[in-house]
Amino acid sequence: MHELSIATSIVEAVSEAASAYPGARVKQVRLRVGALASVIEDSLQFCWELATEGSPLAGATLVINKLPVIVHCDACGVDSEIGGVQSFRCPRCGELAADLRQGRELEIESIELEEPEPKQPESGAPEPMEEHI
Protein backbone atom coordinates (compact mmCIF):
# COMPACT_ATOMS: atom_id res chain seq x y z
CA MET A 1 0.00 0.00 0.00
CA HIS A 2 2.11 2.88 -1.22
CA GLU A 3 -0.85 4.80 -2.67
CA LEU A 4 -0.89 7.06 0.38
CA SER A 5 2.73 8.12 -0.18
CA ILE A 6 1.89 8.67 -3.84
CA ALA A 7 -1.17 10.77 -2.98
CA THR A 8 0.91 12.81 -0.53
CA SER A 9 3.58 13.40 -3.18
CA ILE A 10 0.90 14.63 -5.60
CA VAL A 11 -0.51 17.03 -2.99
CA GLU A 12 2.96 18.45 -2.35
CA ALA A 13 3.78 18.91 -6.03
CA VAL A 14 0.40 20.43 -6.89
CA SER A 15 0.41 22.81 -3.91
CA GLU A 16 3.81 24.03 -5.00
CA ALA A 17 2.71 24.57 -8.62
CA ALA A 18 -0.58 26.23 -7.61
CA SER A 19 1.16 28.69 -5.31
CA ALA A 20 2.22 30.60 -8.44
CA TYR A 21 -1.48 31.54 -8.92
CA PRO A 22 -2.56 33.36 -5.78
CA GLY A 23 -6.28 33.18 -5.05
CA ALA A 24 -6.77 30.19 -7.35
CA ARG A 25 -8.48 27.02 -6.19
CA VAL A 26 -7.43 23.62 -7.53
CA LYS A 27 -10.49 21.97 -9.08
CA GLN A 28 -8.95 18.96 -10.73
CA VAL A 29 -5.65 17.08 -10.97
CA ARG A 30 -5.02 14.89 -14.01
CA LEU A 31 -2.54 12.03 -13.92
CA ARG A 32 -0.96 9.81 -16.53
CA VAL A 33 -0.50 6.34 -15.07
CA GLY A 34 1.02 3.50 -17.07
CA ALA A 35 -0.41 -0.01 -16.84
CA LEU A 36 2.87 -1.14 -15.22
CA ALA A 37 3.07 1.63 -12.64
CA SER A 38 1.86 -0.67 -9.83
CA VAL A 39 -0.81 1.77 -8.73
CA ILE A 40 -4.29 0.58 -7.82
CA GLU A 41 -6.77 3.19 -8.97
CA ASP A 42 -9.37 2.63 -6.25
CA SER A 43 -6.87 2.83 -3.43
CA LEU A 44 -5.30 5.94 -4.94
CA GLN A 45 -8.75 7.62 -5.10
CA PHE A 46 -9.37 6.60 -1.51
CA CYS A 47 -5.99 7.90 -0.36
CA TRP A 48 -6.52 11.09 -2.38
CA GLU A 49 -9.45 12.00 -0.13
CA LEU A 50 -7.35 11.36 2.97
CA ALA A 51 -4.35 13.27 1.65
CA THR A 52 -6.29 16.34 0.50
CA GLU A 53 -8.57 16.60 3.53
CA GLY A 54 -7.92 19.87 5.32
CA SER A 55 -5.41 20.96 2.67
CA PRO A 56 -5.84 23.68 0.04
CA LEU A 57 -6.63 20.84 -2.38
CA ALA A 58 -9.65 19.64 -0.43
CA GLY A 59 -12.50 18.88 -2.82
CA ALA A 60 -10.30 18.69 -5.90
CA THR A 61 -11.05 15.70 -8.11
CA LEU A 62 -8.40 13.30 -9.30
CA VAL A 63 -8.60 12.04 -12.88
CA ILE A 64 -6.45 9.05 -13.72
CA ASN A 65 -5.63 8.61 -17.41
CA LYS A 66 -4.47 5.04 -17.83
CA LEU A 67 -1.84 4.37 -20.47
CA PRO A 68 -1.47 0.97 -22.09
CA VAL A 69 1.89 -0.67 -22.54
CA ILE A 70 3.66 0.06 -25.82
CA VAL A 71 6.56 -2.15 -26.90
CA HIS A 72 9.03 -1.79 -29.72
CA CYS A 73 9.54 -4.89 -31.84
CA ASP A 74 13.05 -5.30 -33.21
CA ALA A 75 11.86 -7.72 -35.89
CA CYS A 76 9.13 -5.44 -37.29
CA GLY A 77 10.79 -2.19 -36.31
CA VAL A 78 7.41 -0.94 -35.11
CA ASP A 79 5.96 0.30 -31.79
CA SER A 80 2.69 -1.38 -30.86
CA GLU A 81 0.25 -1.22 -28.02
CA ILE A 82 -0.23 -4.56 -26.26
CA GLY A 83 -3.44 -5.63 -24.59
CA GLY A 84 -2.90 -6.20 -20.88
CA VAL A 85 0.34 -6.83 -19.04
CA GLN A 86 0.54 -10.63 -19.07
CA SER A 87 2.69 -11.11 -22.14
CA PHE A 88 5.21 -8.79 -23.75
CA ARG A 89 4.94 -9.82 -27.38
CA CYS A 90 4.64 -7.87 -30.58
CA PRO A 91 1.00 -8.13 -31.69
CA ARG A 92 2.08 -8.12 -35.36
CA CYS A 93 4.57 -10.99 -35.40
CA GLY A 94 4.22 -12.63 -31.99
CA GLU A 95 7.90 -12.25 -31.04
CA LEU A 96 8.86 -11.36 -27.47
CA ALA A 97 9.54 -7.64 -27.21
CA ALA A 98 11.71 -6.43 -24.33
CA ASP A 99 11.93 -2.82 -25.41
CA LEU A 100 9.28 -0.92 -23.44
CA ARG A 101 8.24 2.45 -24.87
CA GLN A 102 5.31 3.25 -22.59
CA GLY A 103 3.72 1.78 -19.48
CA ARG A 104 5.73 2.88 -16.44
CA GLU A 105 4.49 6.51 -16.35
CA LEU A 106 3.49 7.97 -13.01
CA GLU A 107 3.02 11.64 -13.82
CA ILE A 108 0.95 14.68 -13.06
CA GLU A 109 -0.21 15.78 -16.49
CA SER A 110 -2.04 19.01 -15.64
CA ILE A 111 -4.06 20.81 -13.02
CA GLU A 112 -7.24 22.78 -13.46
CA LEU A 113 -7.49 25.98 -11.47
CA GLU A 114 -10.46 28.18 -10.76
CA GLU A 115 -9.40 31.82 -10.54
CA PRO A 116 -11.28 34.94 -9.58
CA GLU A 117 -12.17 37.18 -12.59
CA PRO A 118 -9.43 39.66 -13.35
CA LYS A 119 -10.48 43.10 -12.11
CA GLN A 120 -12.09 45.07 -14.97
CA PRO A 121 -12.90 48.75 -14.90
CA GLU A 122 -16.59 49.09 -13.95
CA SER A 123 -18.80 49.84 -16.93
CA GLY A 124 -20.10 53.35 -16.99
CA ALA A 125 -17.27 54.67 -14.93
CA PRO A 126 -15.54 57.58 -16.59
CA GLU A 127 -12.28 56.73 -18.31
CA PRO A 128 -9.39 58.14 -16.38
CA MET A 129 -8.43 61.33 -18.19
CA GLU A 130 -4.95 62.27 -18.91
CA GLU A 131 -4.21 65.66 -17.67
CA HIS A 132 -2.59 68.07 -20.03
CA ILE A 133 -1.20 71.14 -18.62
Binding site: H2, A13, A17, V85, L106, E109, E112, L113, E114
Partner: protein, 223 residues
Protein backbone atom coordinates in the same frame (compact mmCIF):
# COMPACT_ATOMS: atom_id res chain seq x y z
CA UNK B 1 -14.60 32.76 -12.00
CA UNK B 2 -12.36 31.65 -14.83
CA UNK B 3 -10.74 28.31 -15.39
CA UNK B 4 -7.10 27.85 -16.17
CA UNK B 5 -5.34 24.61 -17.13
CA UNK B 6 -1.70 24.40 -16.12
CA UNK B 7 0.36 21.68 -17.79
CA UNK B 8 2.78 20.18 -15.27
CA UNK B 9 4.12 17.02 -16.93
CA UNK B 10 6.00 16.15 -13.77
CA UNK B 11 6.85 12.76 -12.37
CA UNK B 12 4.95 12.14 -9.14
CA UNK B 13 8.03 10.56 -7.56
CA UNK B 14 10.36 13.20 -9.00
CA UNK B 15 11.97 13.85 -5.60
CA UNK B 16 12.79 10.19 -5.17
CA UNK B 17 14.01 9.91 -8.76
CA UNK B 18 16.34 12.88 -8.32
CA UNK B 19 17.74 11.55 -5.06
CA UNK B 20 18.21 8.13 -6.66
CA UNK B 21 20.02 9.66 -9.63
CA UNK B 22 22.36 11.39 -7.18
CA UNK B 23 22.98 8.11 -5.37
CA UNK B 24 23.63 6.30 -8.65
CA UNK B 25 26.25 8.88 -9.57
CA UNK B 26 27.84 8.50 -6.15
CA UNK B 27 27.92 4.70 -6.49
CA UNK B 28 29.34 4.85 -10.00
CA UNK B 29 32.13 7.22 -9.07
CA UNK B 30 32.94 5.10 -6.00
CA UNK B 31 33.12 2.06 -8.29
CA UNK B 32 30.67 0.01 -6.23
CA UNK B 33 28.08 -2.25 -7.84
CA UNK B 34 24.74 -1.75 -6.09
CA UNK B 35 21.96 -4.33 -6.22
CA UNK B 36 18.39 -4.00 -4.95
CA UNK B 37 16.85 -7.34 -3.92
CA UNK B 38 13.06 -7.52 -4.08
CA UNK B 39 10.58 -10.34 -3.38
CA UNK B 40 7.63 -11.41 -1.27
CA UNK B 41 8.27 -11.95 2.43
CA UNK B 42 9.76 -15.41 2.97
CA UNK B 43 11.13 -15.98 -0.52
CA UNK B 44 14.61 -16.31 0.90
CA UNK B 45 16.23 -12.91 0.27
CA UNK B 46 18.13 -12.96 3.54
CA UNK B 47 19.24 -16.58 3.17
CA UNK B 48 20.35 -15.99 -0.43
CA UNK B 49 22.17 -12.82 0.55
CA UNK B 50 23.80 -14.54 3.55
CA UNK B 51 25.21 -17.20 1.26
CA UNK B 52 26.26 -14.63 -1.37
CA UNK B 53 28.05 -12.47 1.21
CA UNK B 54 29.81 -15.46 2.74
CA UNK B 55 31.07 -16.64 -0.64
CA UNK B 56 32.16 -13.16 -1.71
CA UNK B 57 33.94 -12.64 1.60
CA UNK B 58 35.73 -15.97 1.20
CA UNK B 59 36.88 -14.92 -2.29
CA UNK B 60 38.32 -11.67 -0.97
CA UNK B 61 35.67 -9.41 -2.53
CA UNK B 62 34.60 -6.44 -0.45
CA UNK B 63 30.83 -6.36 0.10
CA UNK B 64 28.36 -4.71 2.43
CA UNK B 65 24.60 -4.87 2.91
CA UNK B 66 21.75 -2.59 3.88
CA UNK B 67 18.69 -4.51 4.94
CA UNK B 68 15.18 -3.12 5.07
CA UNK B 69 12.43 -4.50 7.26
CA UNK B 70 9.30 -3.13 8.85
CA UNK B 71 10.63 -3.92 12.33
CA UNK B 72 13.44 -5.89 14.08
CA UNK B 73 17.12 -6.21 13.20
CA UNK B 74 16.97 -10.01 12.95
CA UNK B 75 17.98 -10.06 9.29
CA UNK B 76 20.92 -7.71 9.87
CA UNK B 77 22.15 -9.98 12.66
CA UNK B 78 21.84 -13.04 10.40
CA UNK B 79 23.74 -11.27 7.61
CA UNK B 80 26.46 -9.91 9.88
CA UNK B 81 27.49 -13.50 10.63
CA UNK B 82 28.90 -13.63 7.09
CA UNK B 83 31.67 -11.27 8.24
CA UNK B 84 30.80 -8.23 6.12
CA UNK B 85 29.50 -4.85 7.31
CA UNK B 86 25.70 -4.79 7.57
CA UNK B 87 23.22 -2.12 8.59
CA UNK B 88 19.50 -2.41 9.27
CA UNK B 89 16.87 0.04 8.03
CA UNK B 90 13.56 -0.19 9.91
CA UNK B 91 10.77 1.43 7.93
CA UNK B 92 8.19 1.20 10.78
CA UNK B 93 5.23 0.29 8.63
CA UNK B 94 6.31 1.68 5.25
CA UNK B 95 6.11 -1.12 2.72
CA UNK B 96 9.17 -0.22 0.62
CA UNK B 97 12.57 1.43 0.85
CA UNK B 98 13.04 4.78 -0.85
CA UNK B 99 16.10 6.71 -1.96
CA UNK B 100 15.94 9.04 1.02
CA UNK B 101 16.13 6.16 3.52
CA UNK B 102 19.10 4.70 1.68
CA UNK B 103 20.89 8.06 1.53
CA UNK B 104 20.21 8.76 5.20
CA UNK B 105 21.54 5.39 6.35
CA UNK B 106 24.62 5.61 4.16
CA UNK B 107 25.40 9.06 5.55
CA UNK B 108 24.98 7.84 9.12
CA UNK B 109 27.15 4.78 8.45
CA UNK B 110 30.43 6.50 9.19
CA UNK B 111 32.62 3.41 9.25
CA UNK B 112 31.58 2.50 5.70
CA UNK B 113 33.63 3.85 2.81
CA UNK B 114 31.79 3.27 -0.47
CA UNK B 115 35.00 3.61 -2.44
CA UNK B 116 36.42 0.64 -0.55
CA UNK B 117 33.59 -1.65 -1.67
CA UNK B 118 33.04 -3.87 -4.68
CA UNK B 119 29.40 -4.64 -3.91
CA UNK B 120 26.61 -3.10 -1.90
CA UNK B 121 23.45 -5.19 -1.57
CA UNK B 122 20.16 -3.66 -0.50
CA UNK B 123 17.54 -6.11 0.75
CA UNK B 124 14.20 -4.38 0.22
CA UNK B 125 11.12 -4.81 2.41
CA UNK B 126 9.27 -8.01 1.50
CA UNK B 127 6.65 -6.80 -1.00
CA UNK B 128 6.12 -7.37 -4.71
CA UNK B 129 4.19 -4.19 -5.47
CA UNK B 130 5.38 -1.04 -3.78
CA UNK B 131 9.17 -1.31 -4.24
CA UNK B 132 8.75 -1.29 -8.02
CA UNK B 133 8.10 2.48 -8.16
CA UNK B 134 11.02 3.48 -5.95
CA UNK B 135 14.43 3.74 -7.57
CA UNK B 136 17.17 3.38 -4.94
CA UNK B 137 20.00 4.30 -7.28
CA UNK B 138 20.82 0.62 -7.83
CA UNK B 139 22.39 -0.59 -11.04
CA UNK B 140 20.80 -4.03 -10.87
CA UNK B 141 17.35 -4.80 -9.57
CA UNK B 142 17.06 -8.46 -8.65
CA UNK B 143 13.64 -10.05 -8.26
CA UNK B 144 13.49 -13.31 -6.32
CA UNK B 145 10.87 -16.03 -6.53
CA UNK B 146 10.89 -19.28 -4.56
CA UNK B 147 9.75 -22.67 -5.83
CA UNK B 148 7.19 -22.72 -3.01
CA UNK B 149 5.22 -19.66 -4.08
CA UNK B 150 3.71 -20.58 -7.43
CA UNK B 151 4.94 -20.40 -11.01
CA UNK B 152 2.48 -17.63 -11.88
CA UNK B 153 3.92 -14.96 -9.56
CA UNK B 154 5.44 -13.05 -12.53
CA UNK B 155 1.98 -12.82 -14.14
CA UNK B 156 0.46 -11.57 -10.89
CA UNK B 157 3.13 -8.91 -10.32
CA UNK B 158 4.16 -7.80 -13.83
CA UNK B 159 5.03 -4.24 -12.69
CA UNK B 160 7.86 -5.48 -10.54
CA UNK B 161 9.03 -8.40 -12.69
CA UNK B 162 9.14 -6.15 -15.74
CA UNK B 163 11.32 -3.63 -13.89
CA UNK B 164 13.94 -6.22 -12.86
CA UNK B 165 17.37 -6.75 -14.42
CA UNK B 166 17.92 -10.26 -13.10
CA UNK B 167 15.70 -12.94 -11.59
CA UNK B 168 16.62 -15.56 -9.00
CA UNK B 169 14.55 -18.67 -8.35
CA UNK B 170 15.28 -19.65 -4.75
CA UNK B 171 14.93 -22.86 -2.70
CA UNK B 172 15.44 -25.16 -5.68
CA UNK B 173 16.34 -27.89 -3.18
CA UNK B 174 12.55 -27.97 -2.57
CA UNK B 175 11.60 -28.16 -6.27
CA UNK B 176 10.73 -31.87 -6.26
CA UNK B 177 8.64 -32.01 -3.06
CA UNK B 178 6.83 -28.86 -4.24
CA UNK B 179 6.22 -30.31 -7.74
CA UNK B 180 7.72 -27.11 -9.10
CA UNK B 181 7.05 -26.71 -12.84
CA UNK B 182 10.38 -25.25 -13.91
CA UNK B 183 9.56 -24.73 -17.59
CA UNK B 184 6.35 -22.92 -16.70
CA UNK B 185 8.10 -20.61 -14.22
CA UNK B 186 10.94 -19.77 -16.62
CA UNK B 187 8.40 -19.20 -19.41
CA UNK B 188 6.31 -16.87 -17.27
CA UNK B 189 9.31 -14.78 -16.24
CA UNK B 190 10.38 -14.51 -19.85
CA UNK B 191 6.88 -13.54 -20.99
CA UNK B 192 6.93 -10.54 -18.63
CA UNK B 193 10.59 -9.61 -18.96
CA UNK B 194 11.90 -11.06 -22.21
CA UNK B 195 15.57 -11.95 -22.18
CA UNK B 196 16.17 -11.40 -18.43
CA UNK B 197 19.03 -13.38 -16.83
CA UNK B 198 17.59 -16.07 -14.58
CA UNK B 199 19.48 -17.94 -11.84
CA UNK B 200 18.21 -21.05 -10.07
CA UNK B 201 19.71 -21.35 -6.62
CA UNK B 202 19.49 -22.91 -3.20
CA UNK B 203 20.86 -21.07 -0.21
CA UNK B 204 20.67 -24.34 1.66
CA UNK B 205 22.74 -26.57 -0.64
CA UNK B 206 24.62 -23.87 -2.54
CA UNK B 207 23.30 -25.12 -5.88
CA UNK B 208 23.47 -22.50 -8.63
CA UNK B 209 25.56 -20.07 -6.58
CA UNK B 210 28.59 -20.35 -8.89
CA UNK B 211 26.66 -18.99 -11.86
CA UNK B 212 25.31 -16.15 -9.75
CA UNK B 213 28.77 -15.25 -8.39
CA UNK B 214 30.21 -15.32 -11.92
CA UNK B 215 27.45 -12.91 -13.02
CA UNK B 216 28.29 -10.58 -10.11
CA UNK B 217 31.98 -10.58 -11.01
CA UNK B 218 31.15 -9.90 -14.65
CA UNK B 219 28.84 -7.00 -13.74
CA UNK B 220 31.33 -5.47 -11.30
CA UNK B 221 34.13 -5.35 -13.85
CA UNK B 222 34.57 -1.76 -15.00
CA UNK B 223 33.45 -1.56 -18.64
Amino acid sequence: MTTRIVELRRGILKKNDELAAGLRERFTSAGVLVLNLVSSPGTGKTAFLERTLRELHARGARAAALVGDLETDNDARRLAASGVPVRQINTHGICHLDAEMVAKHLDAWESLALAGLDYLFIENVGNLVCPSSYDLGERIRVVLLSVTEGEDKPLKYPGLFNSADAAVITKIDLAVPCAFDRELALGNINEIRPGIRIFETSAKTGAGMDGWLAYLAEQARPS
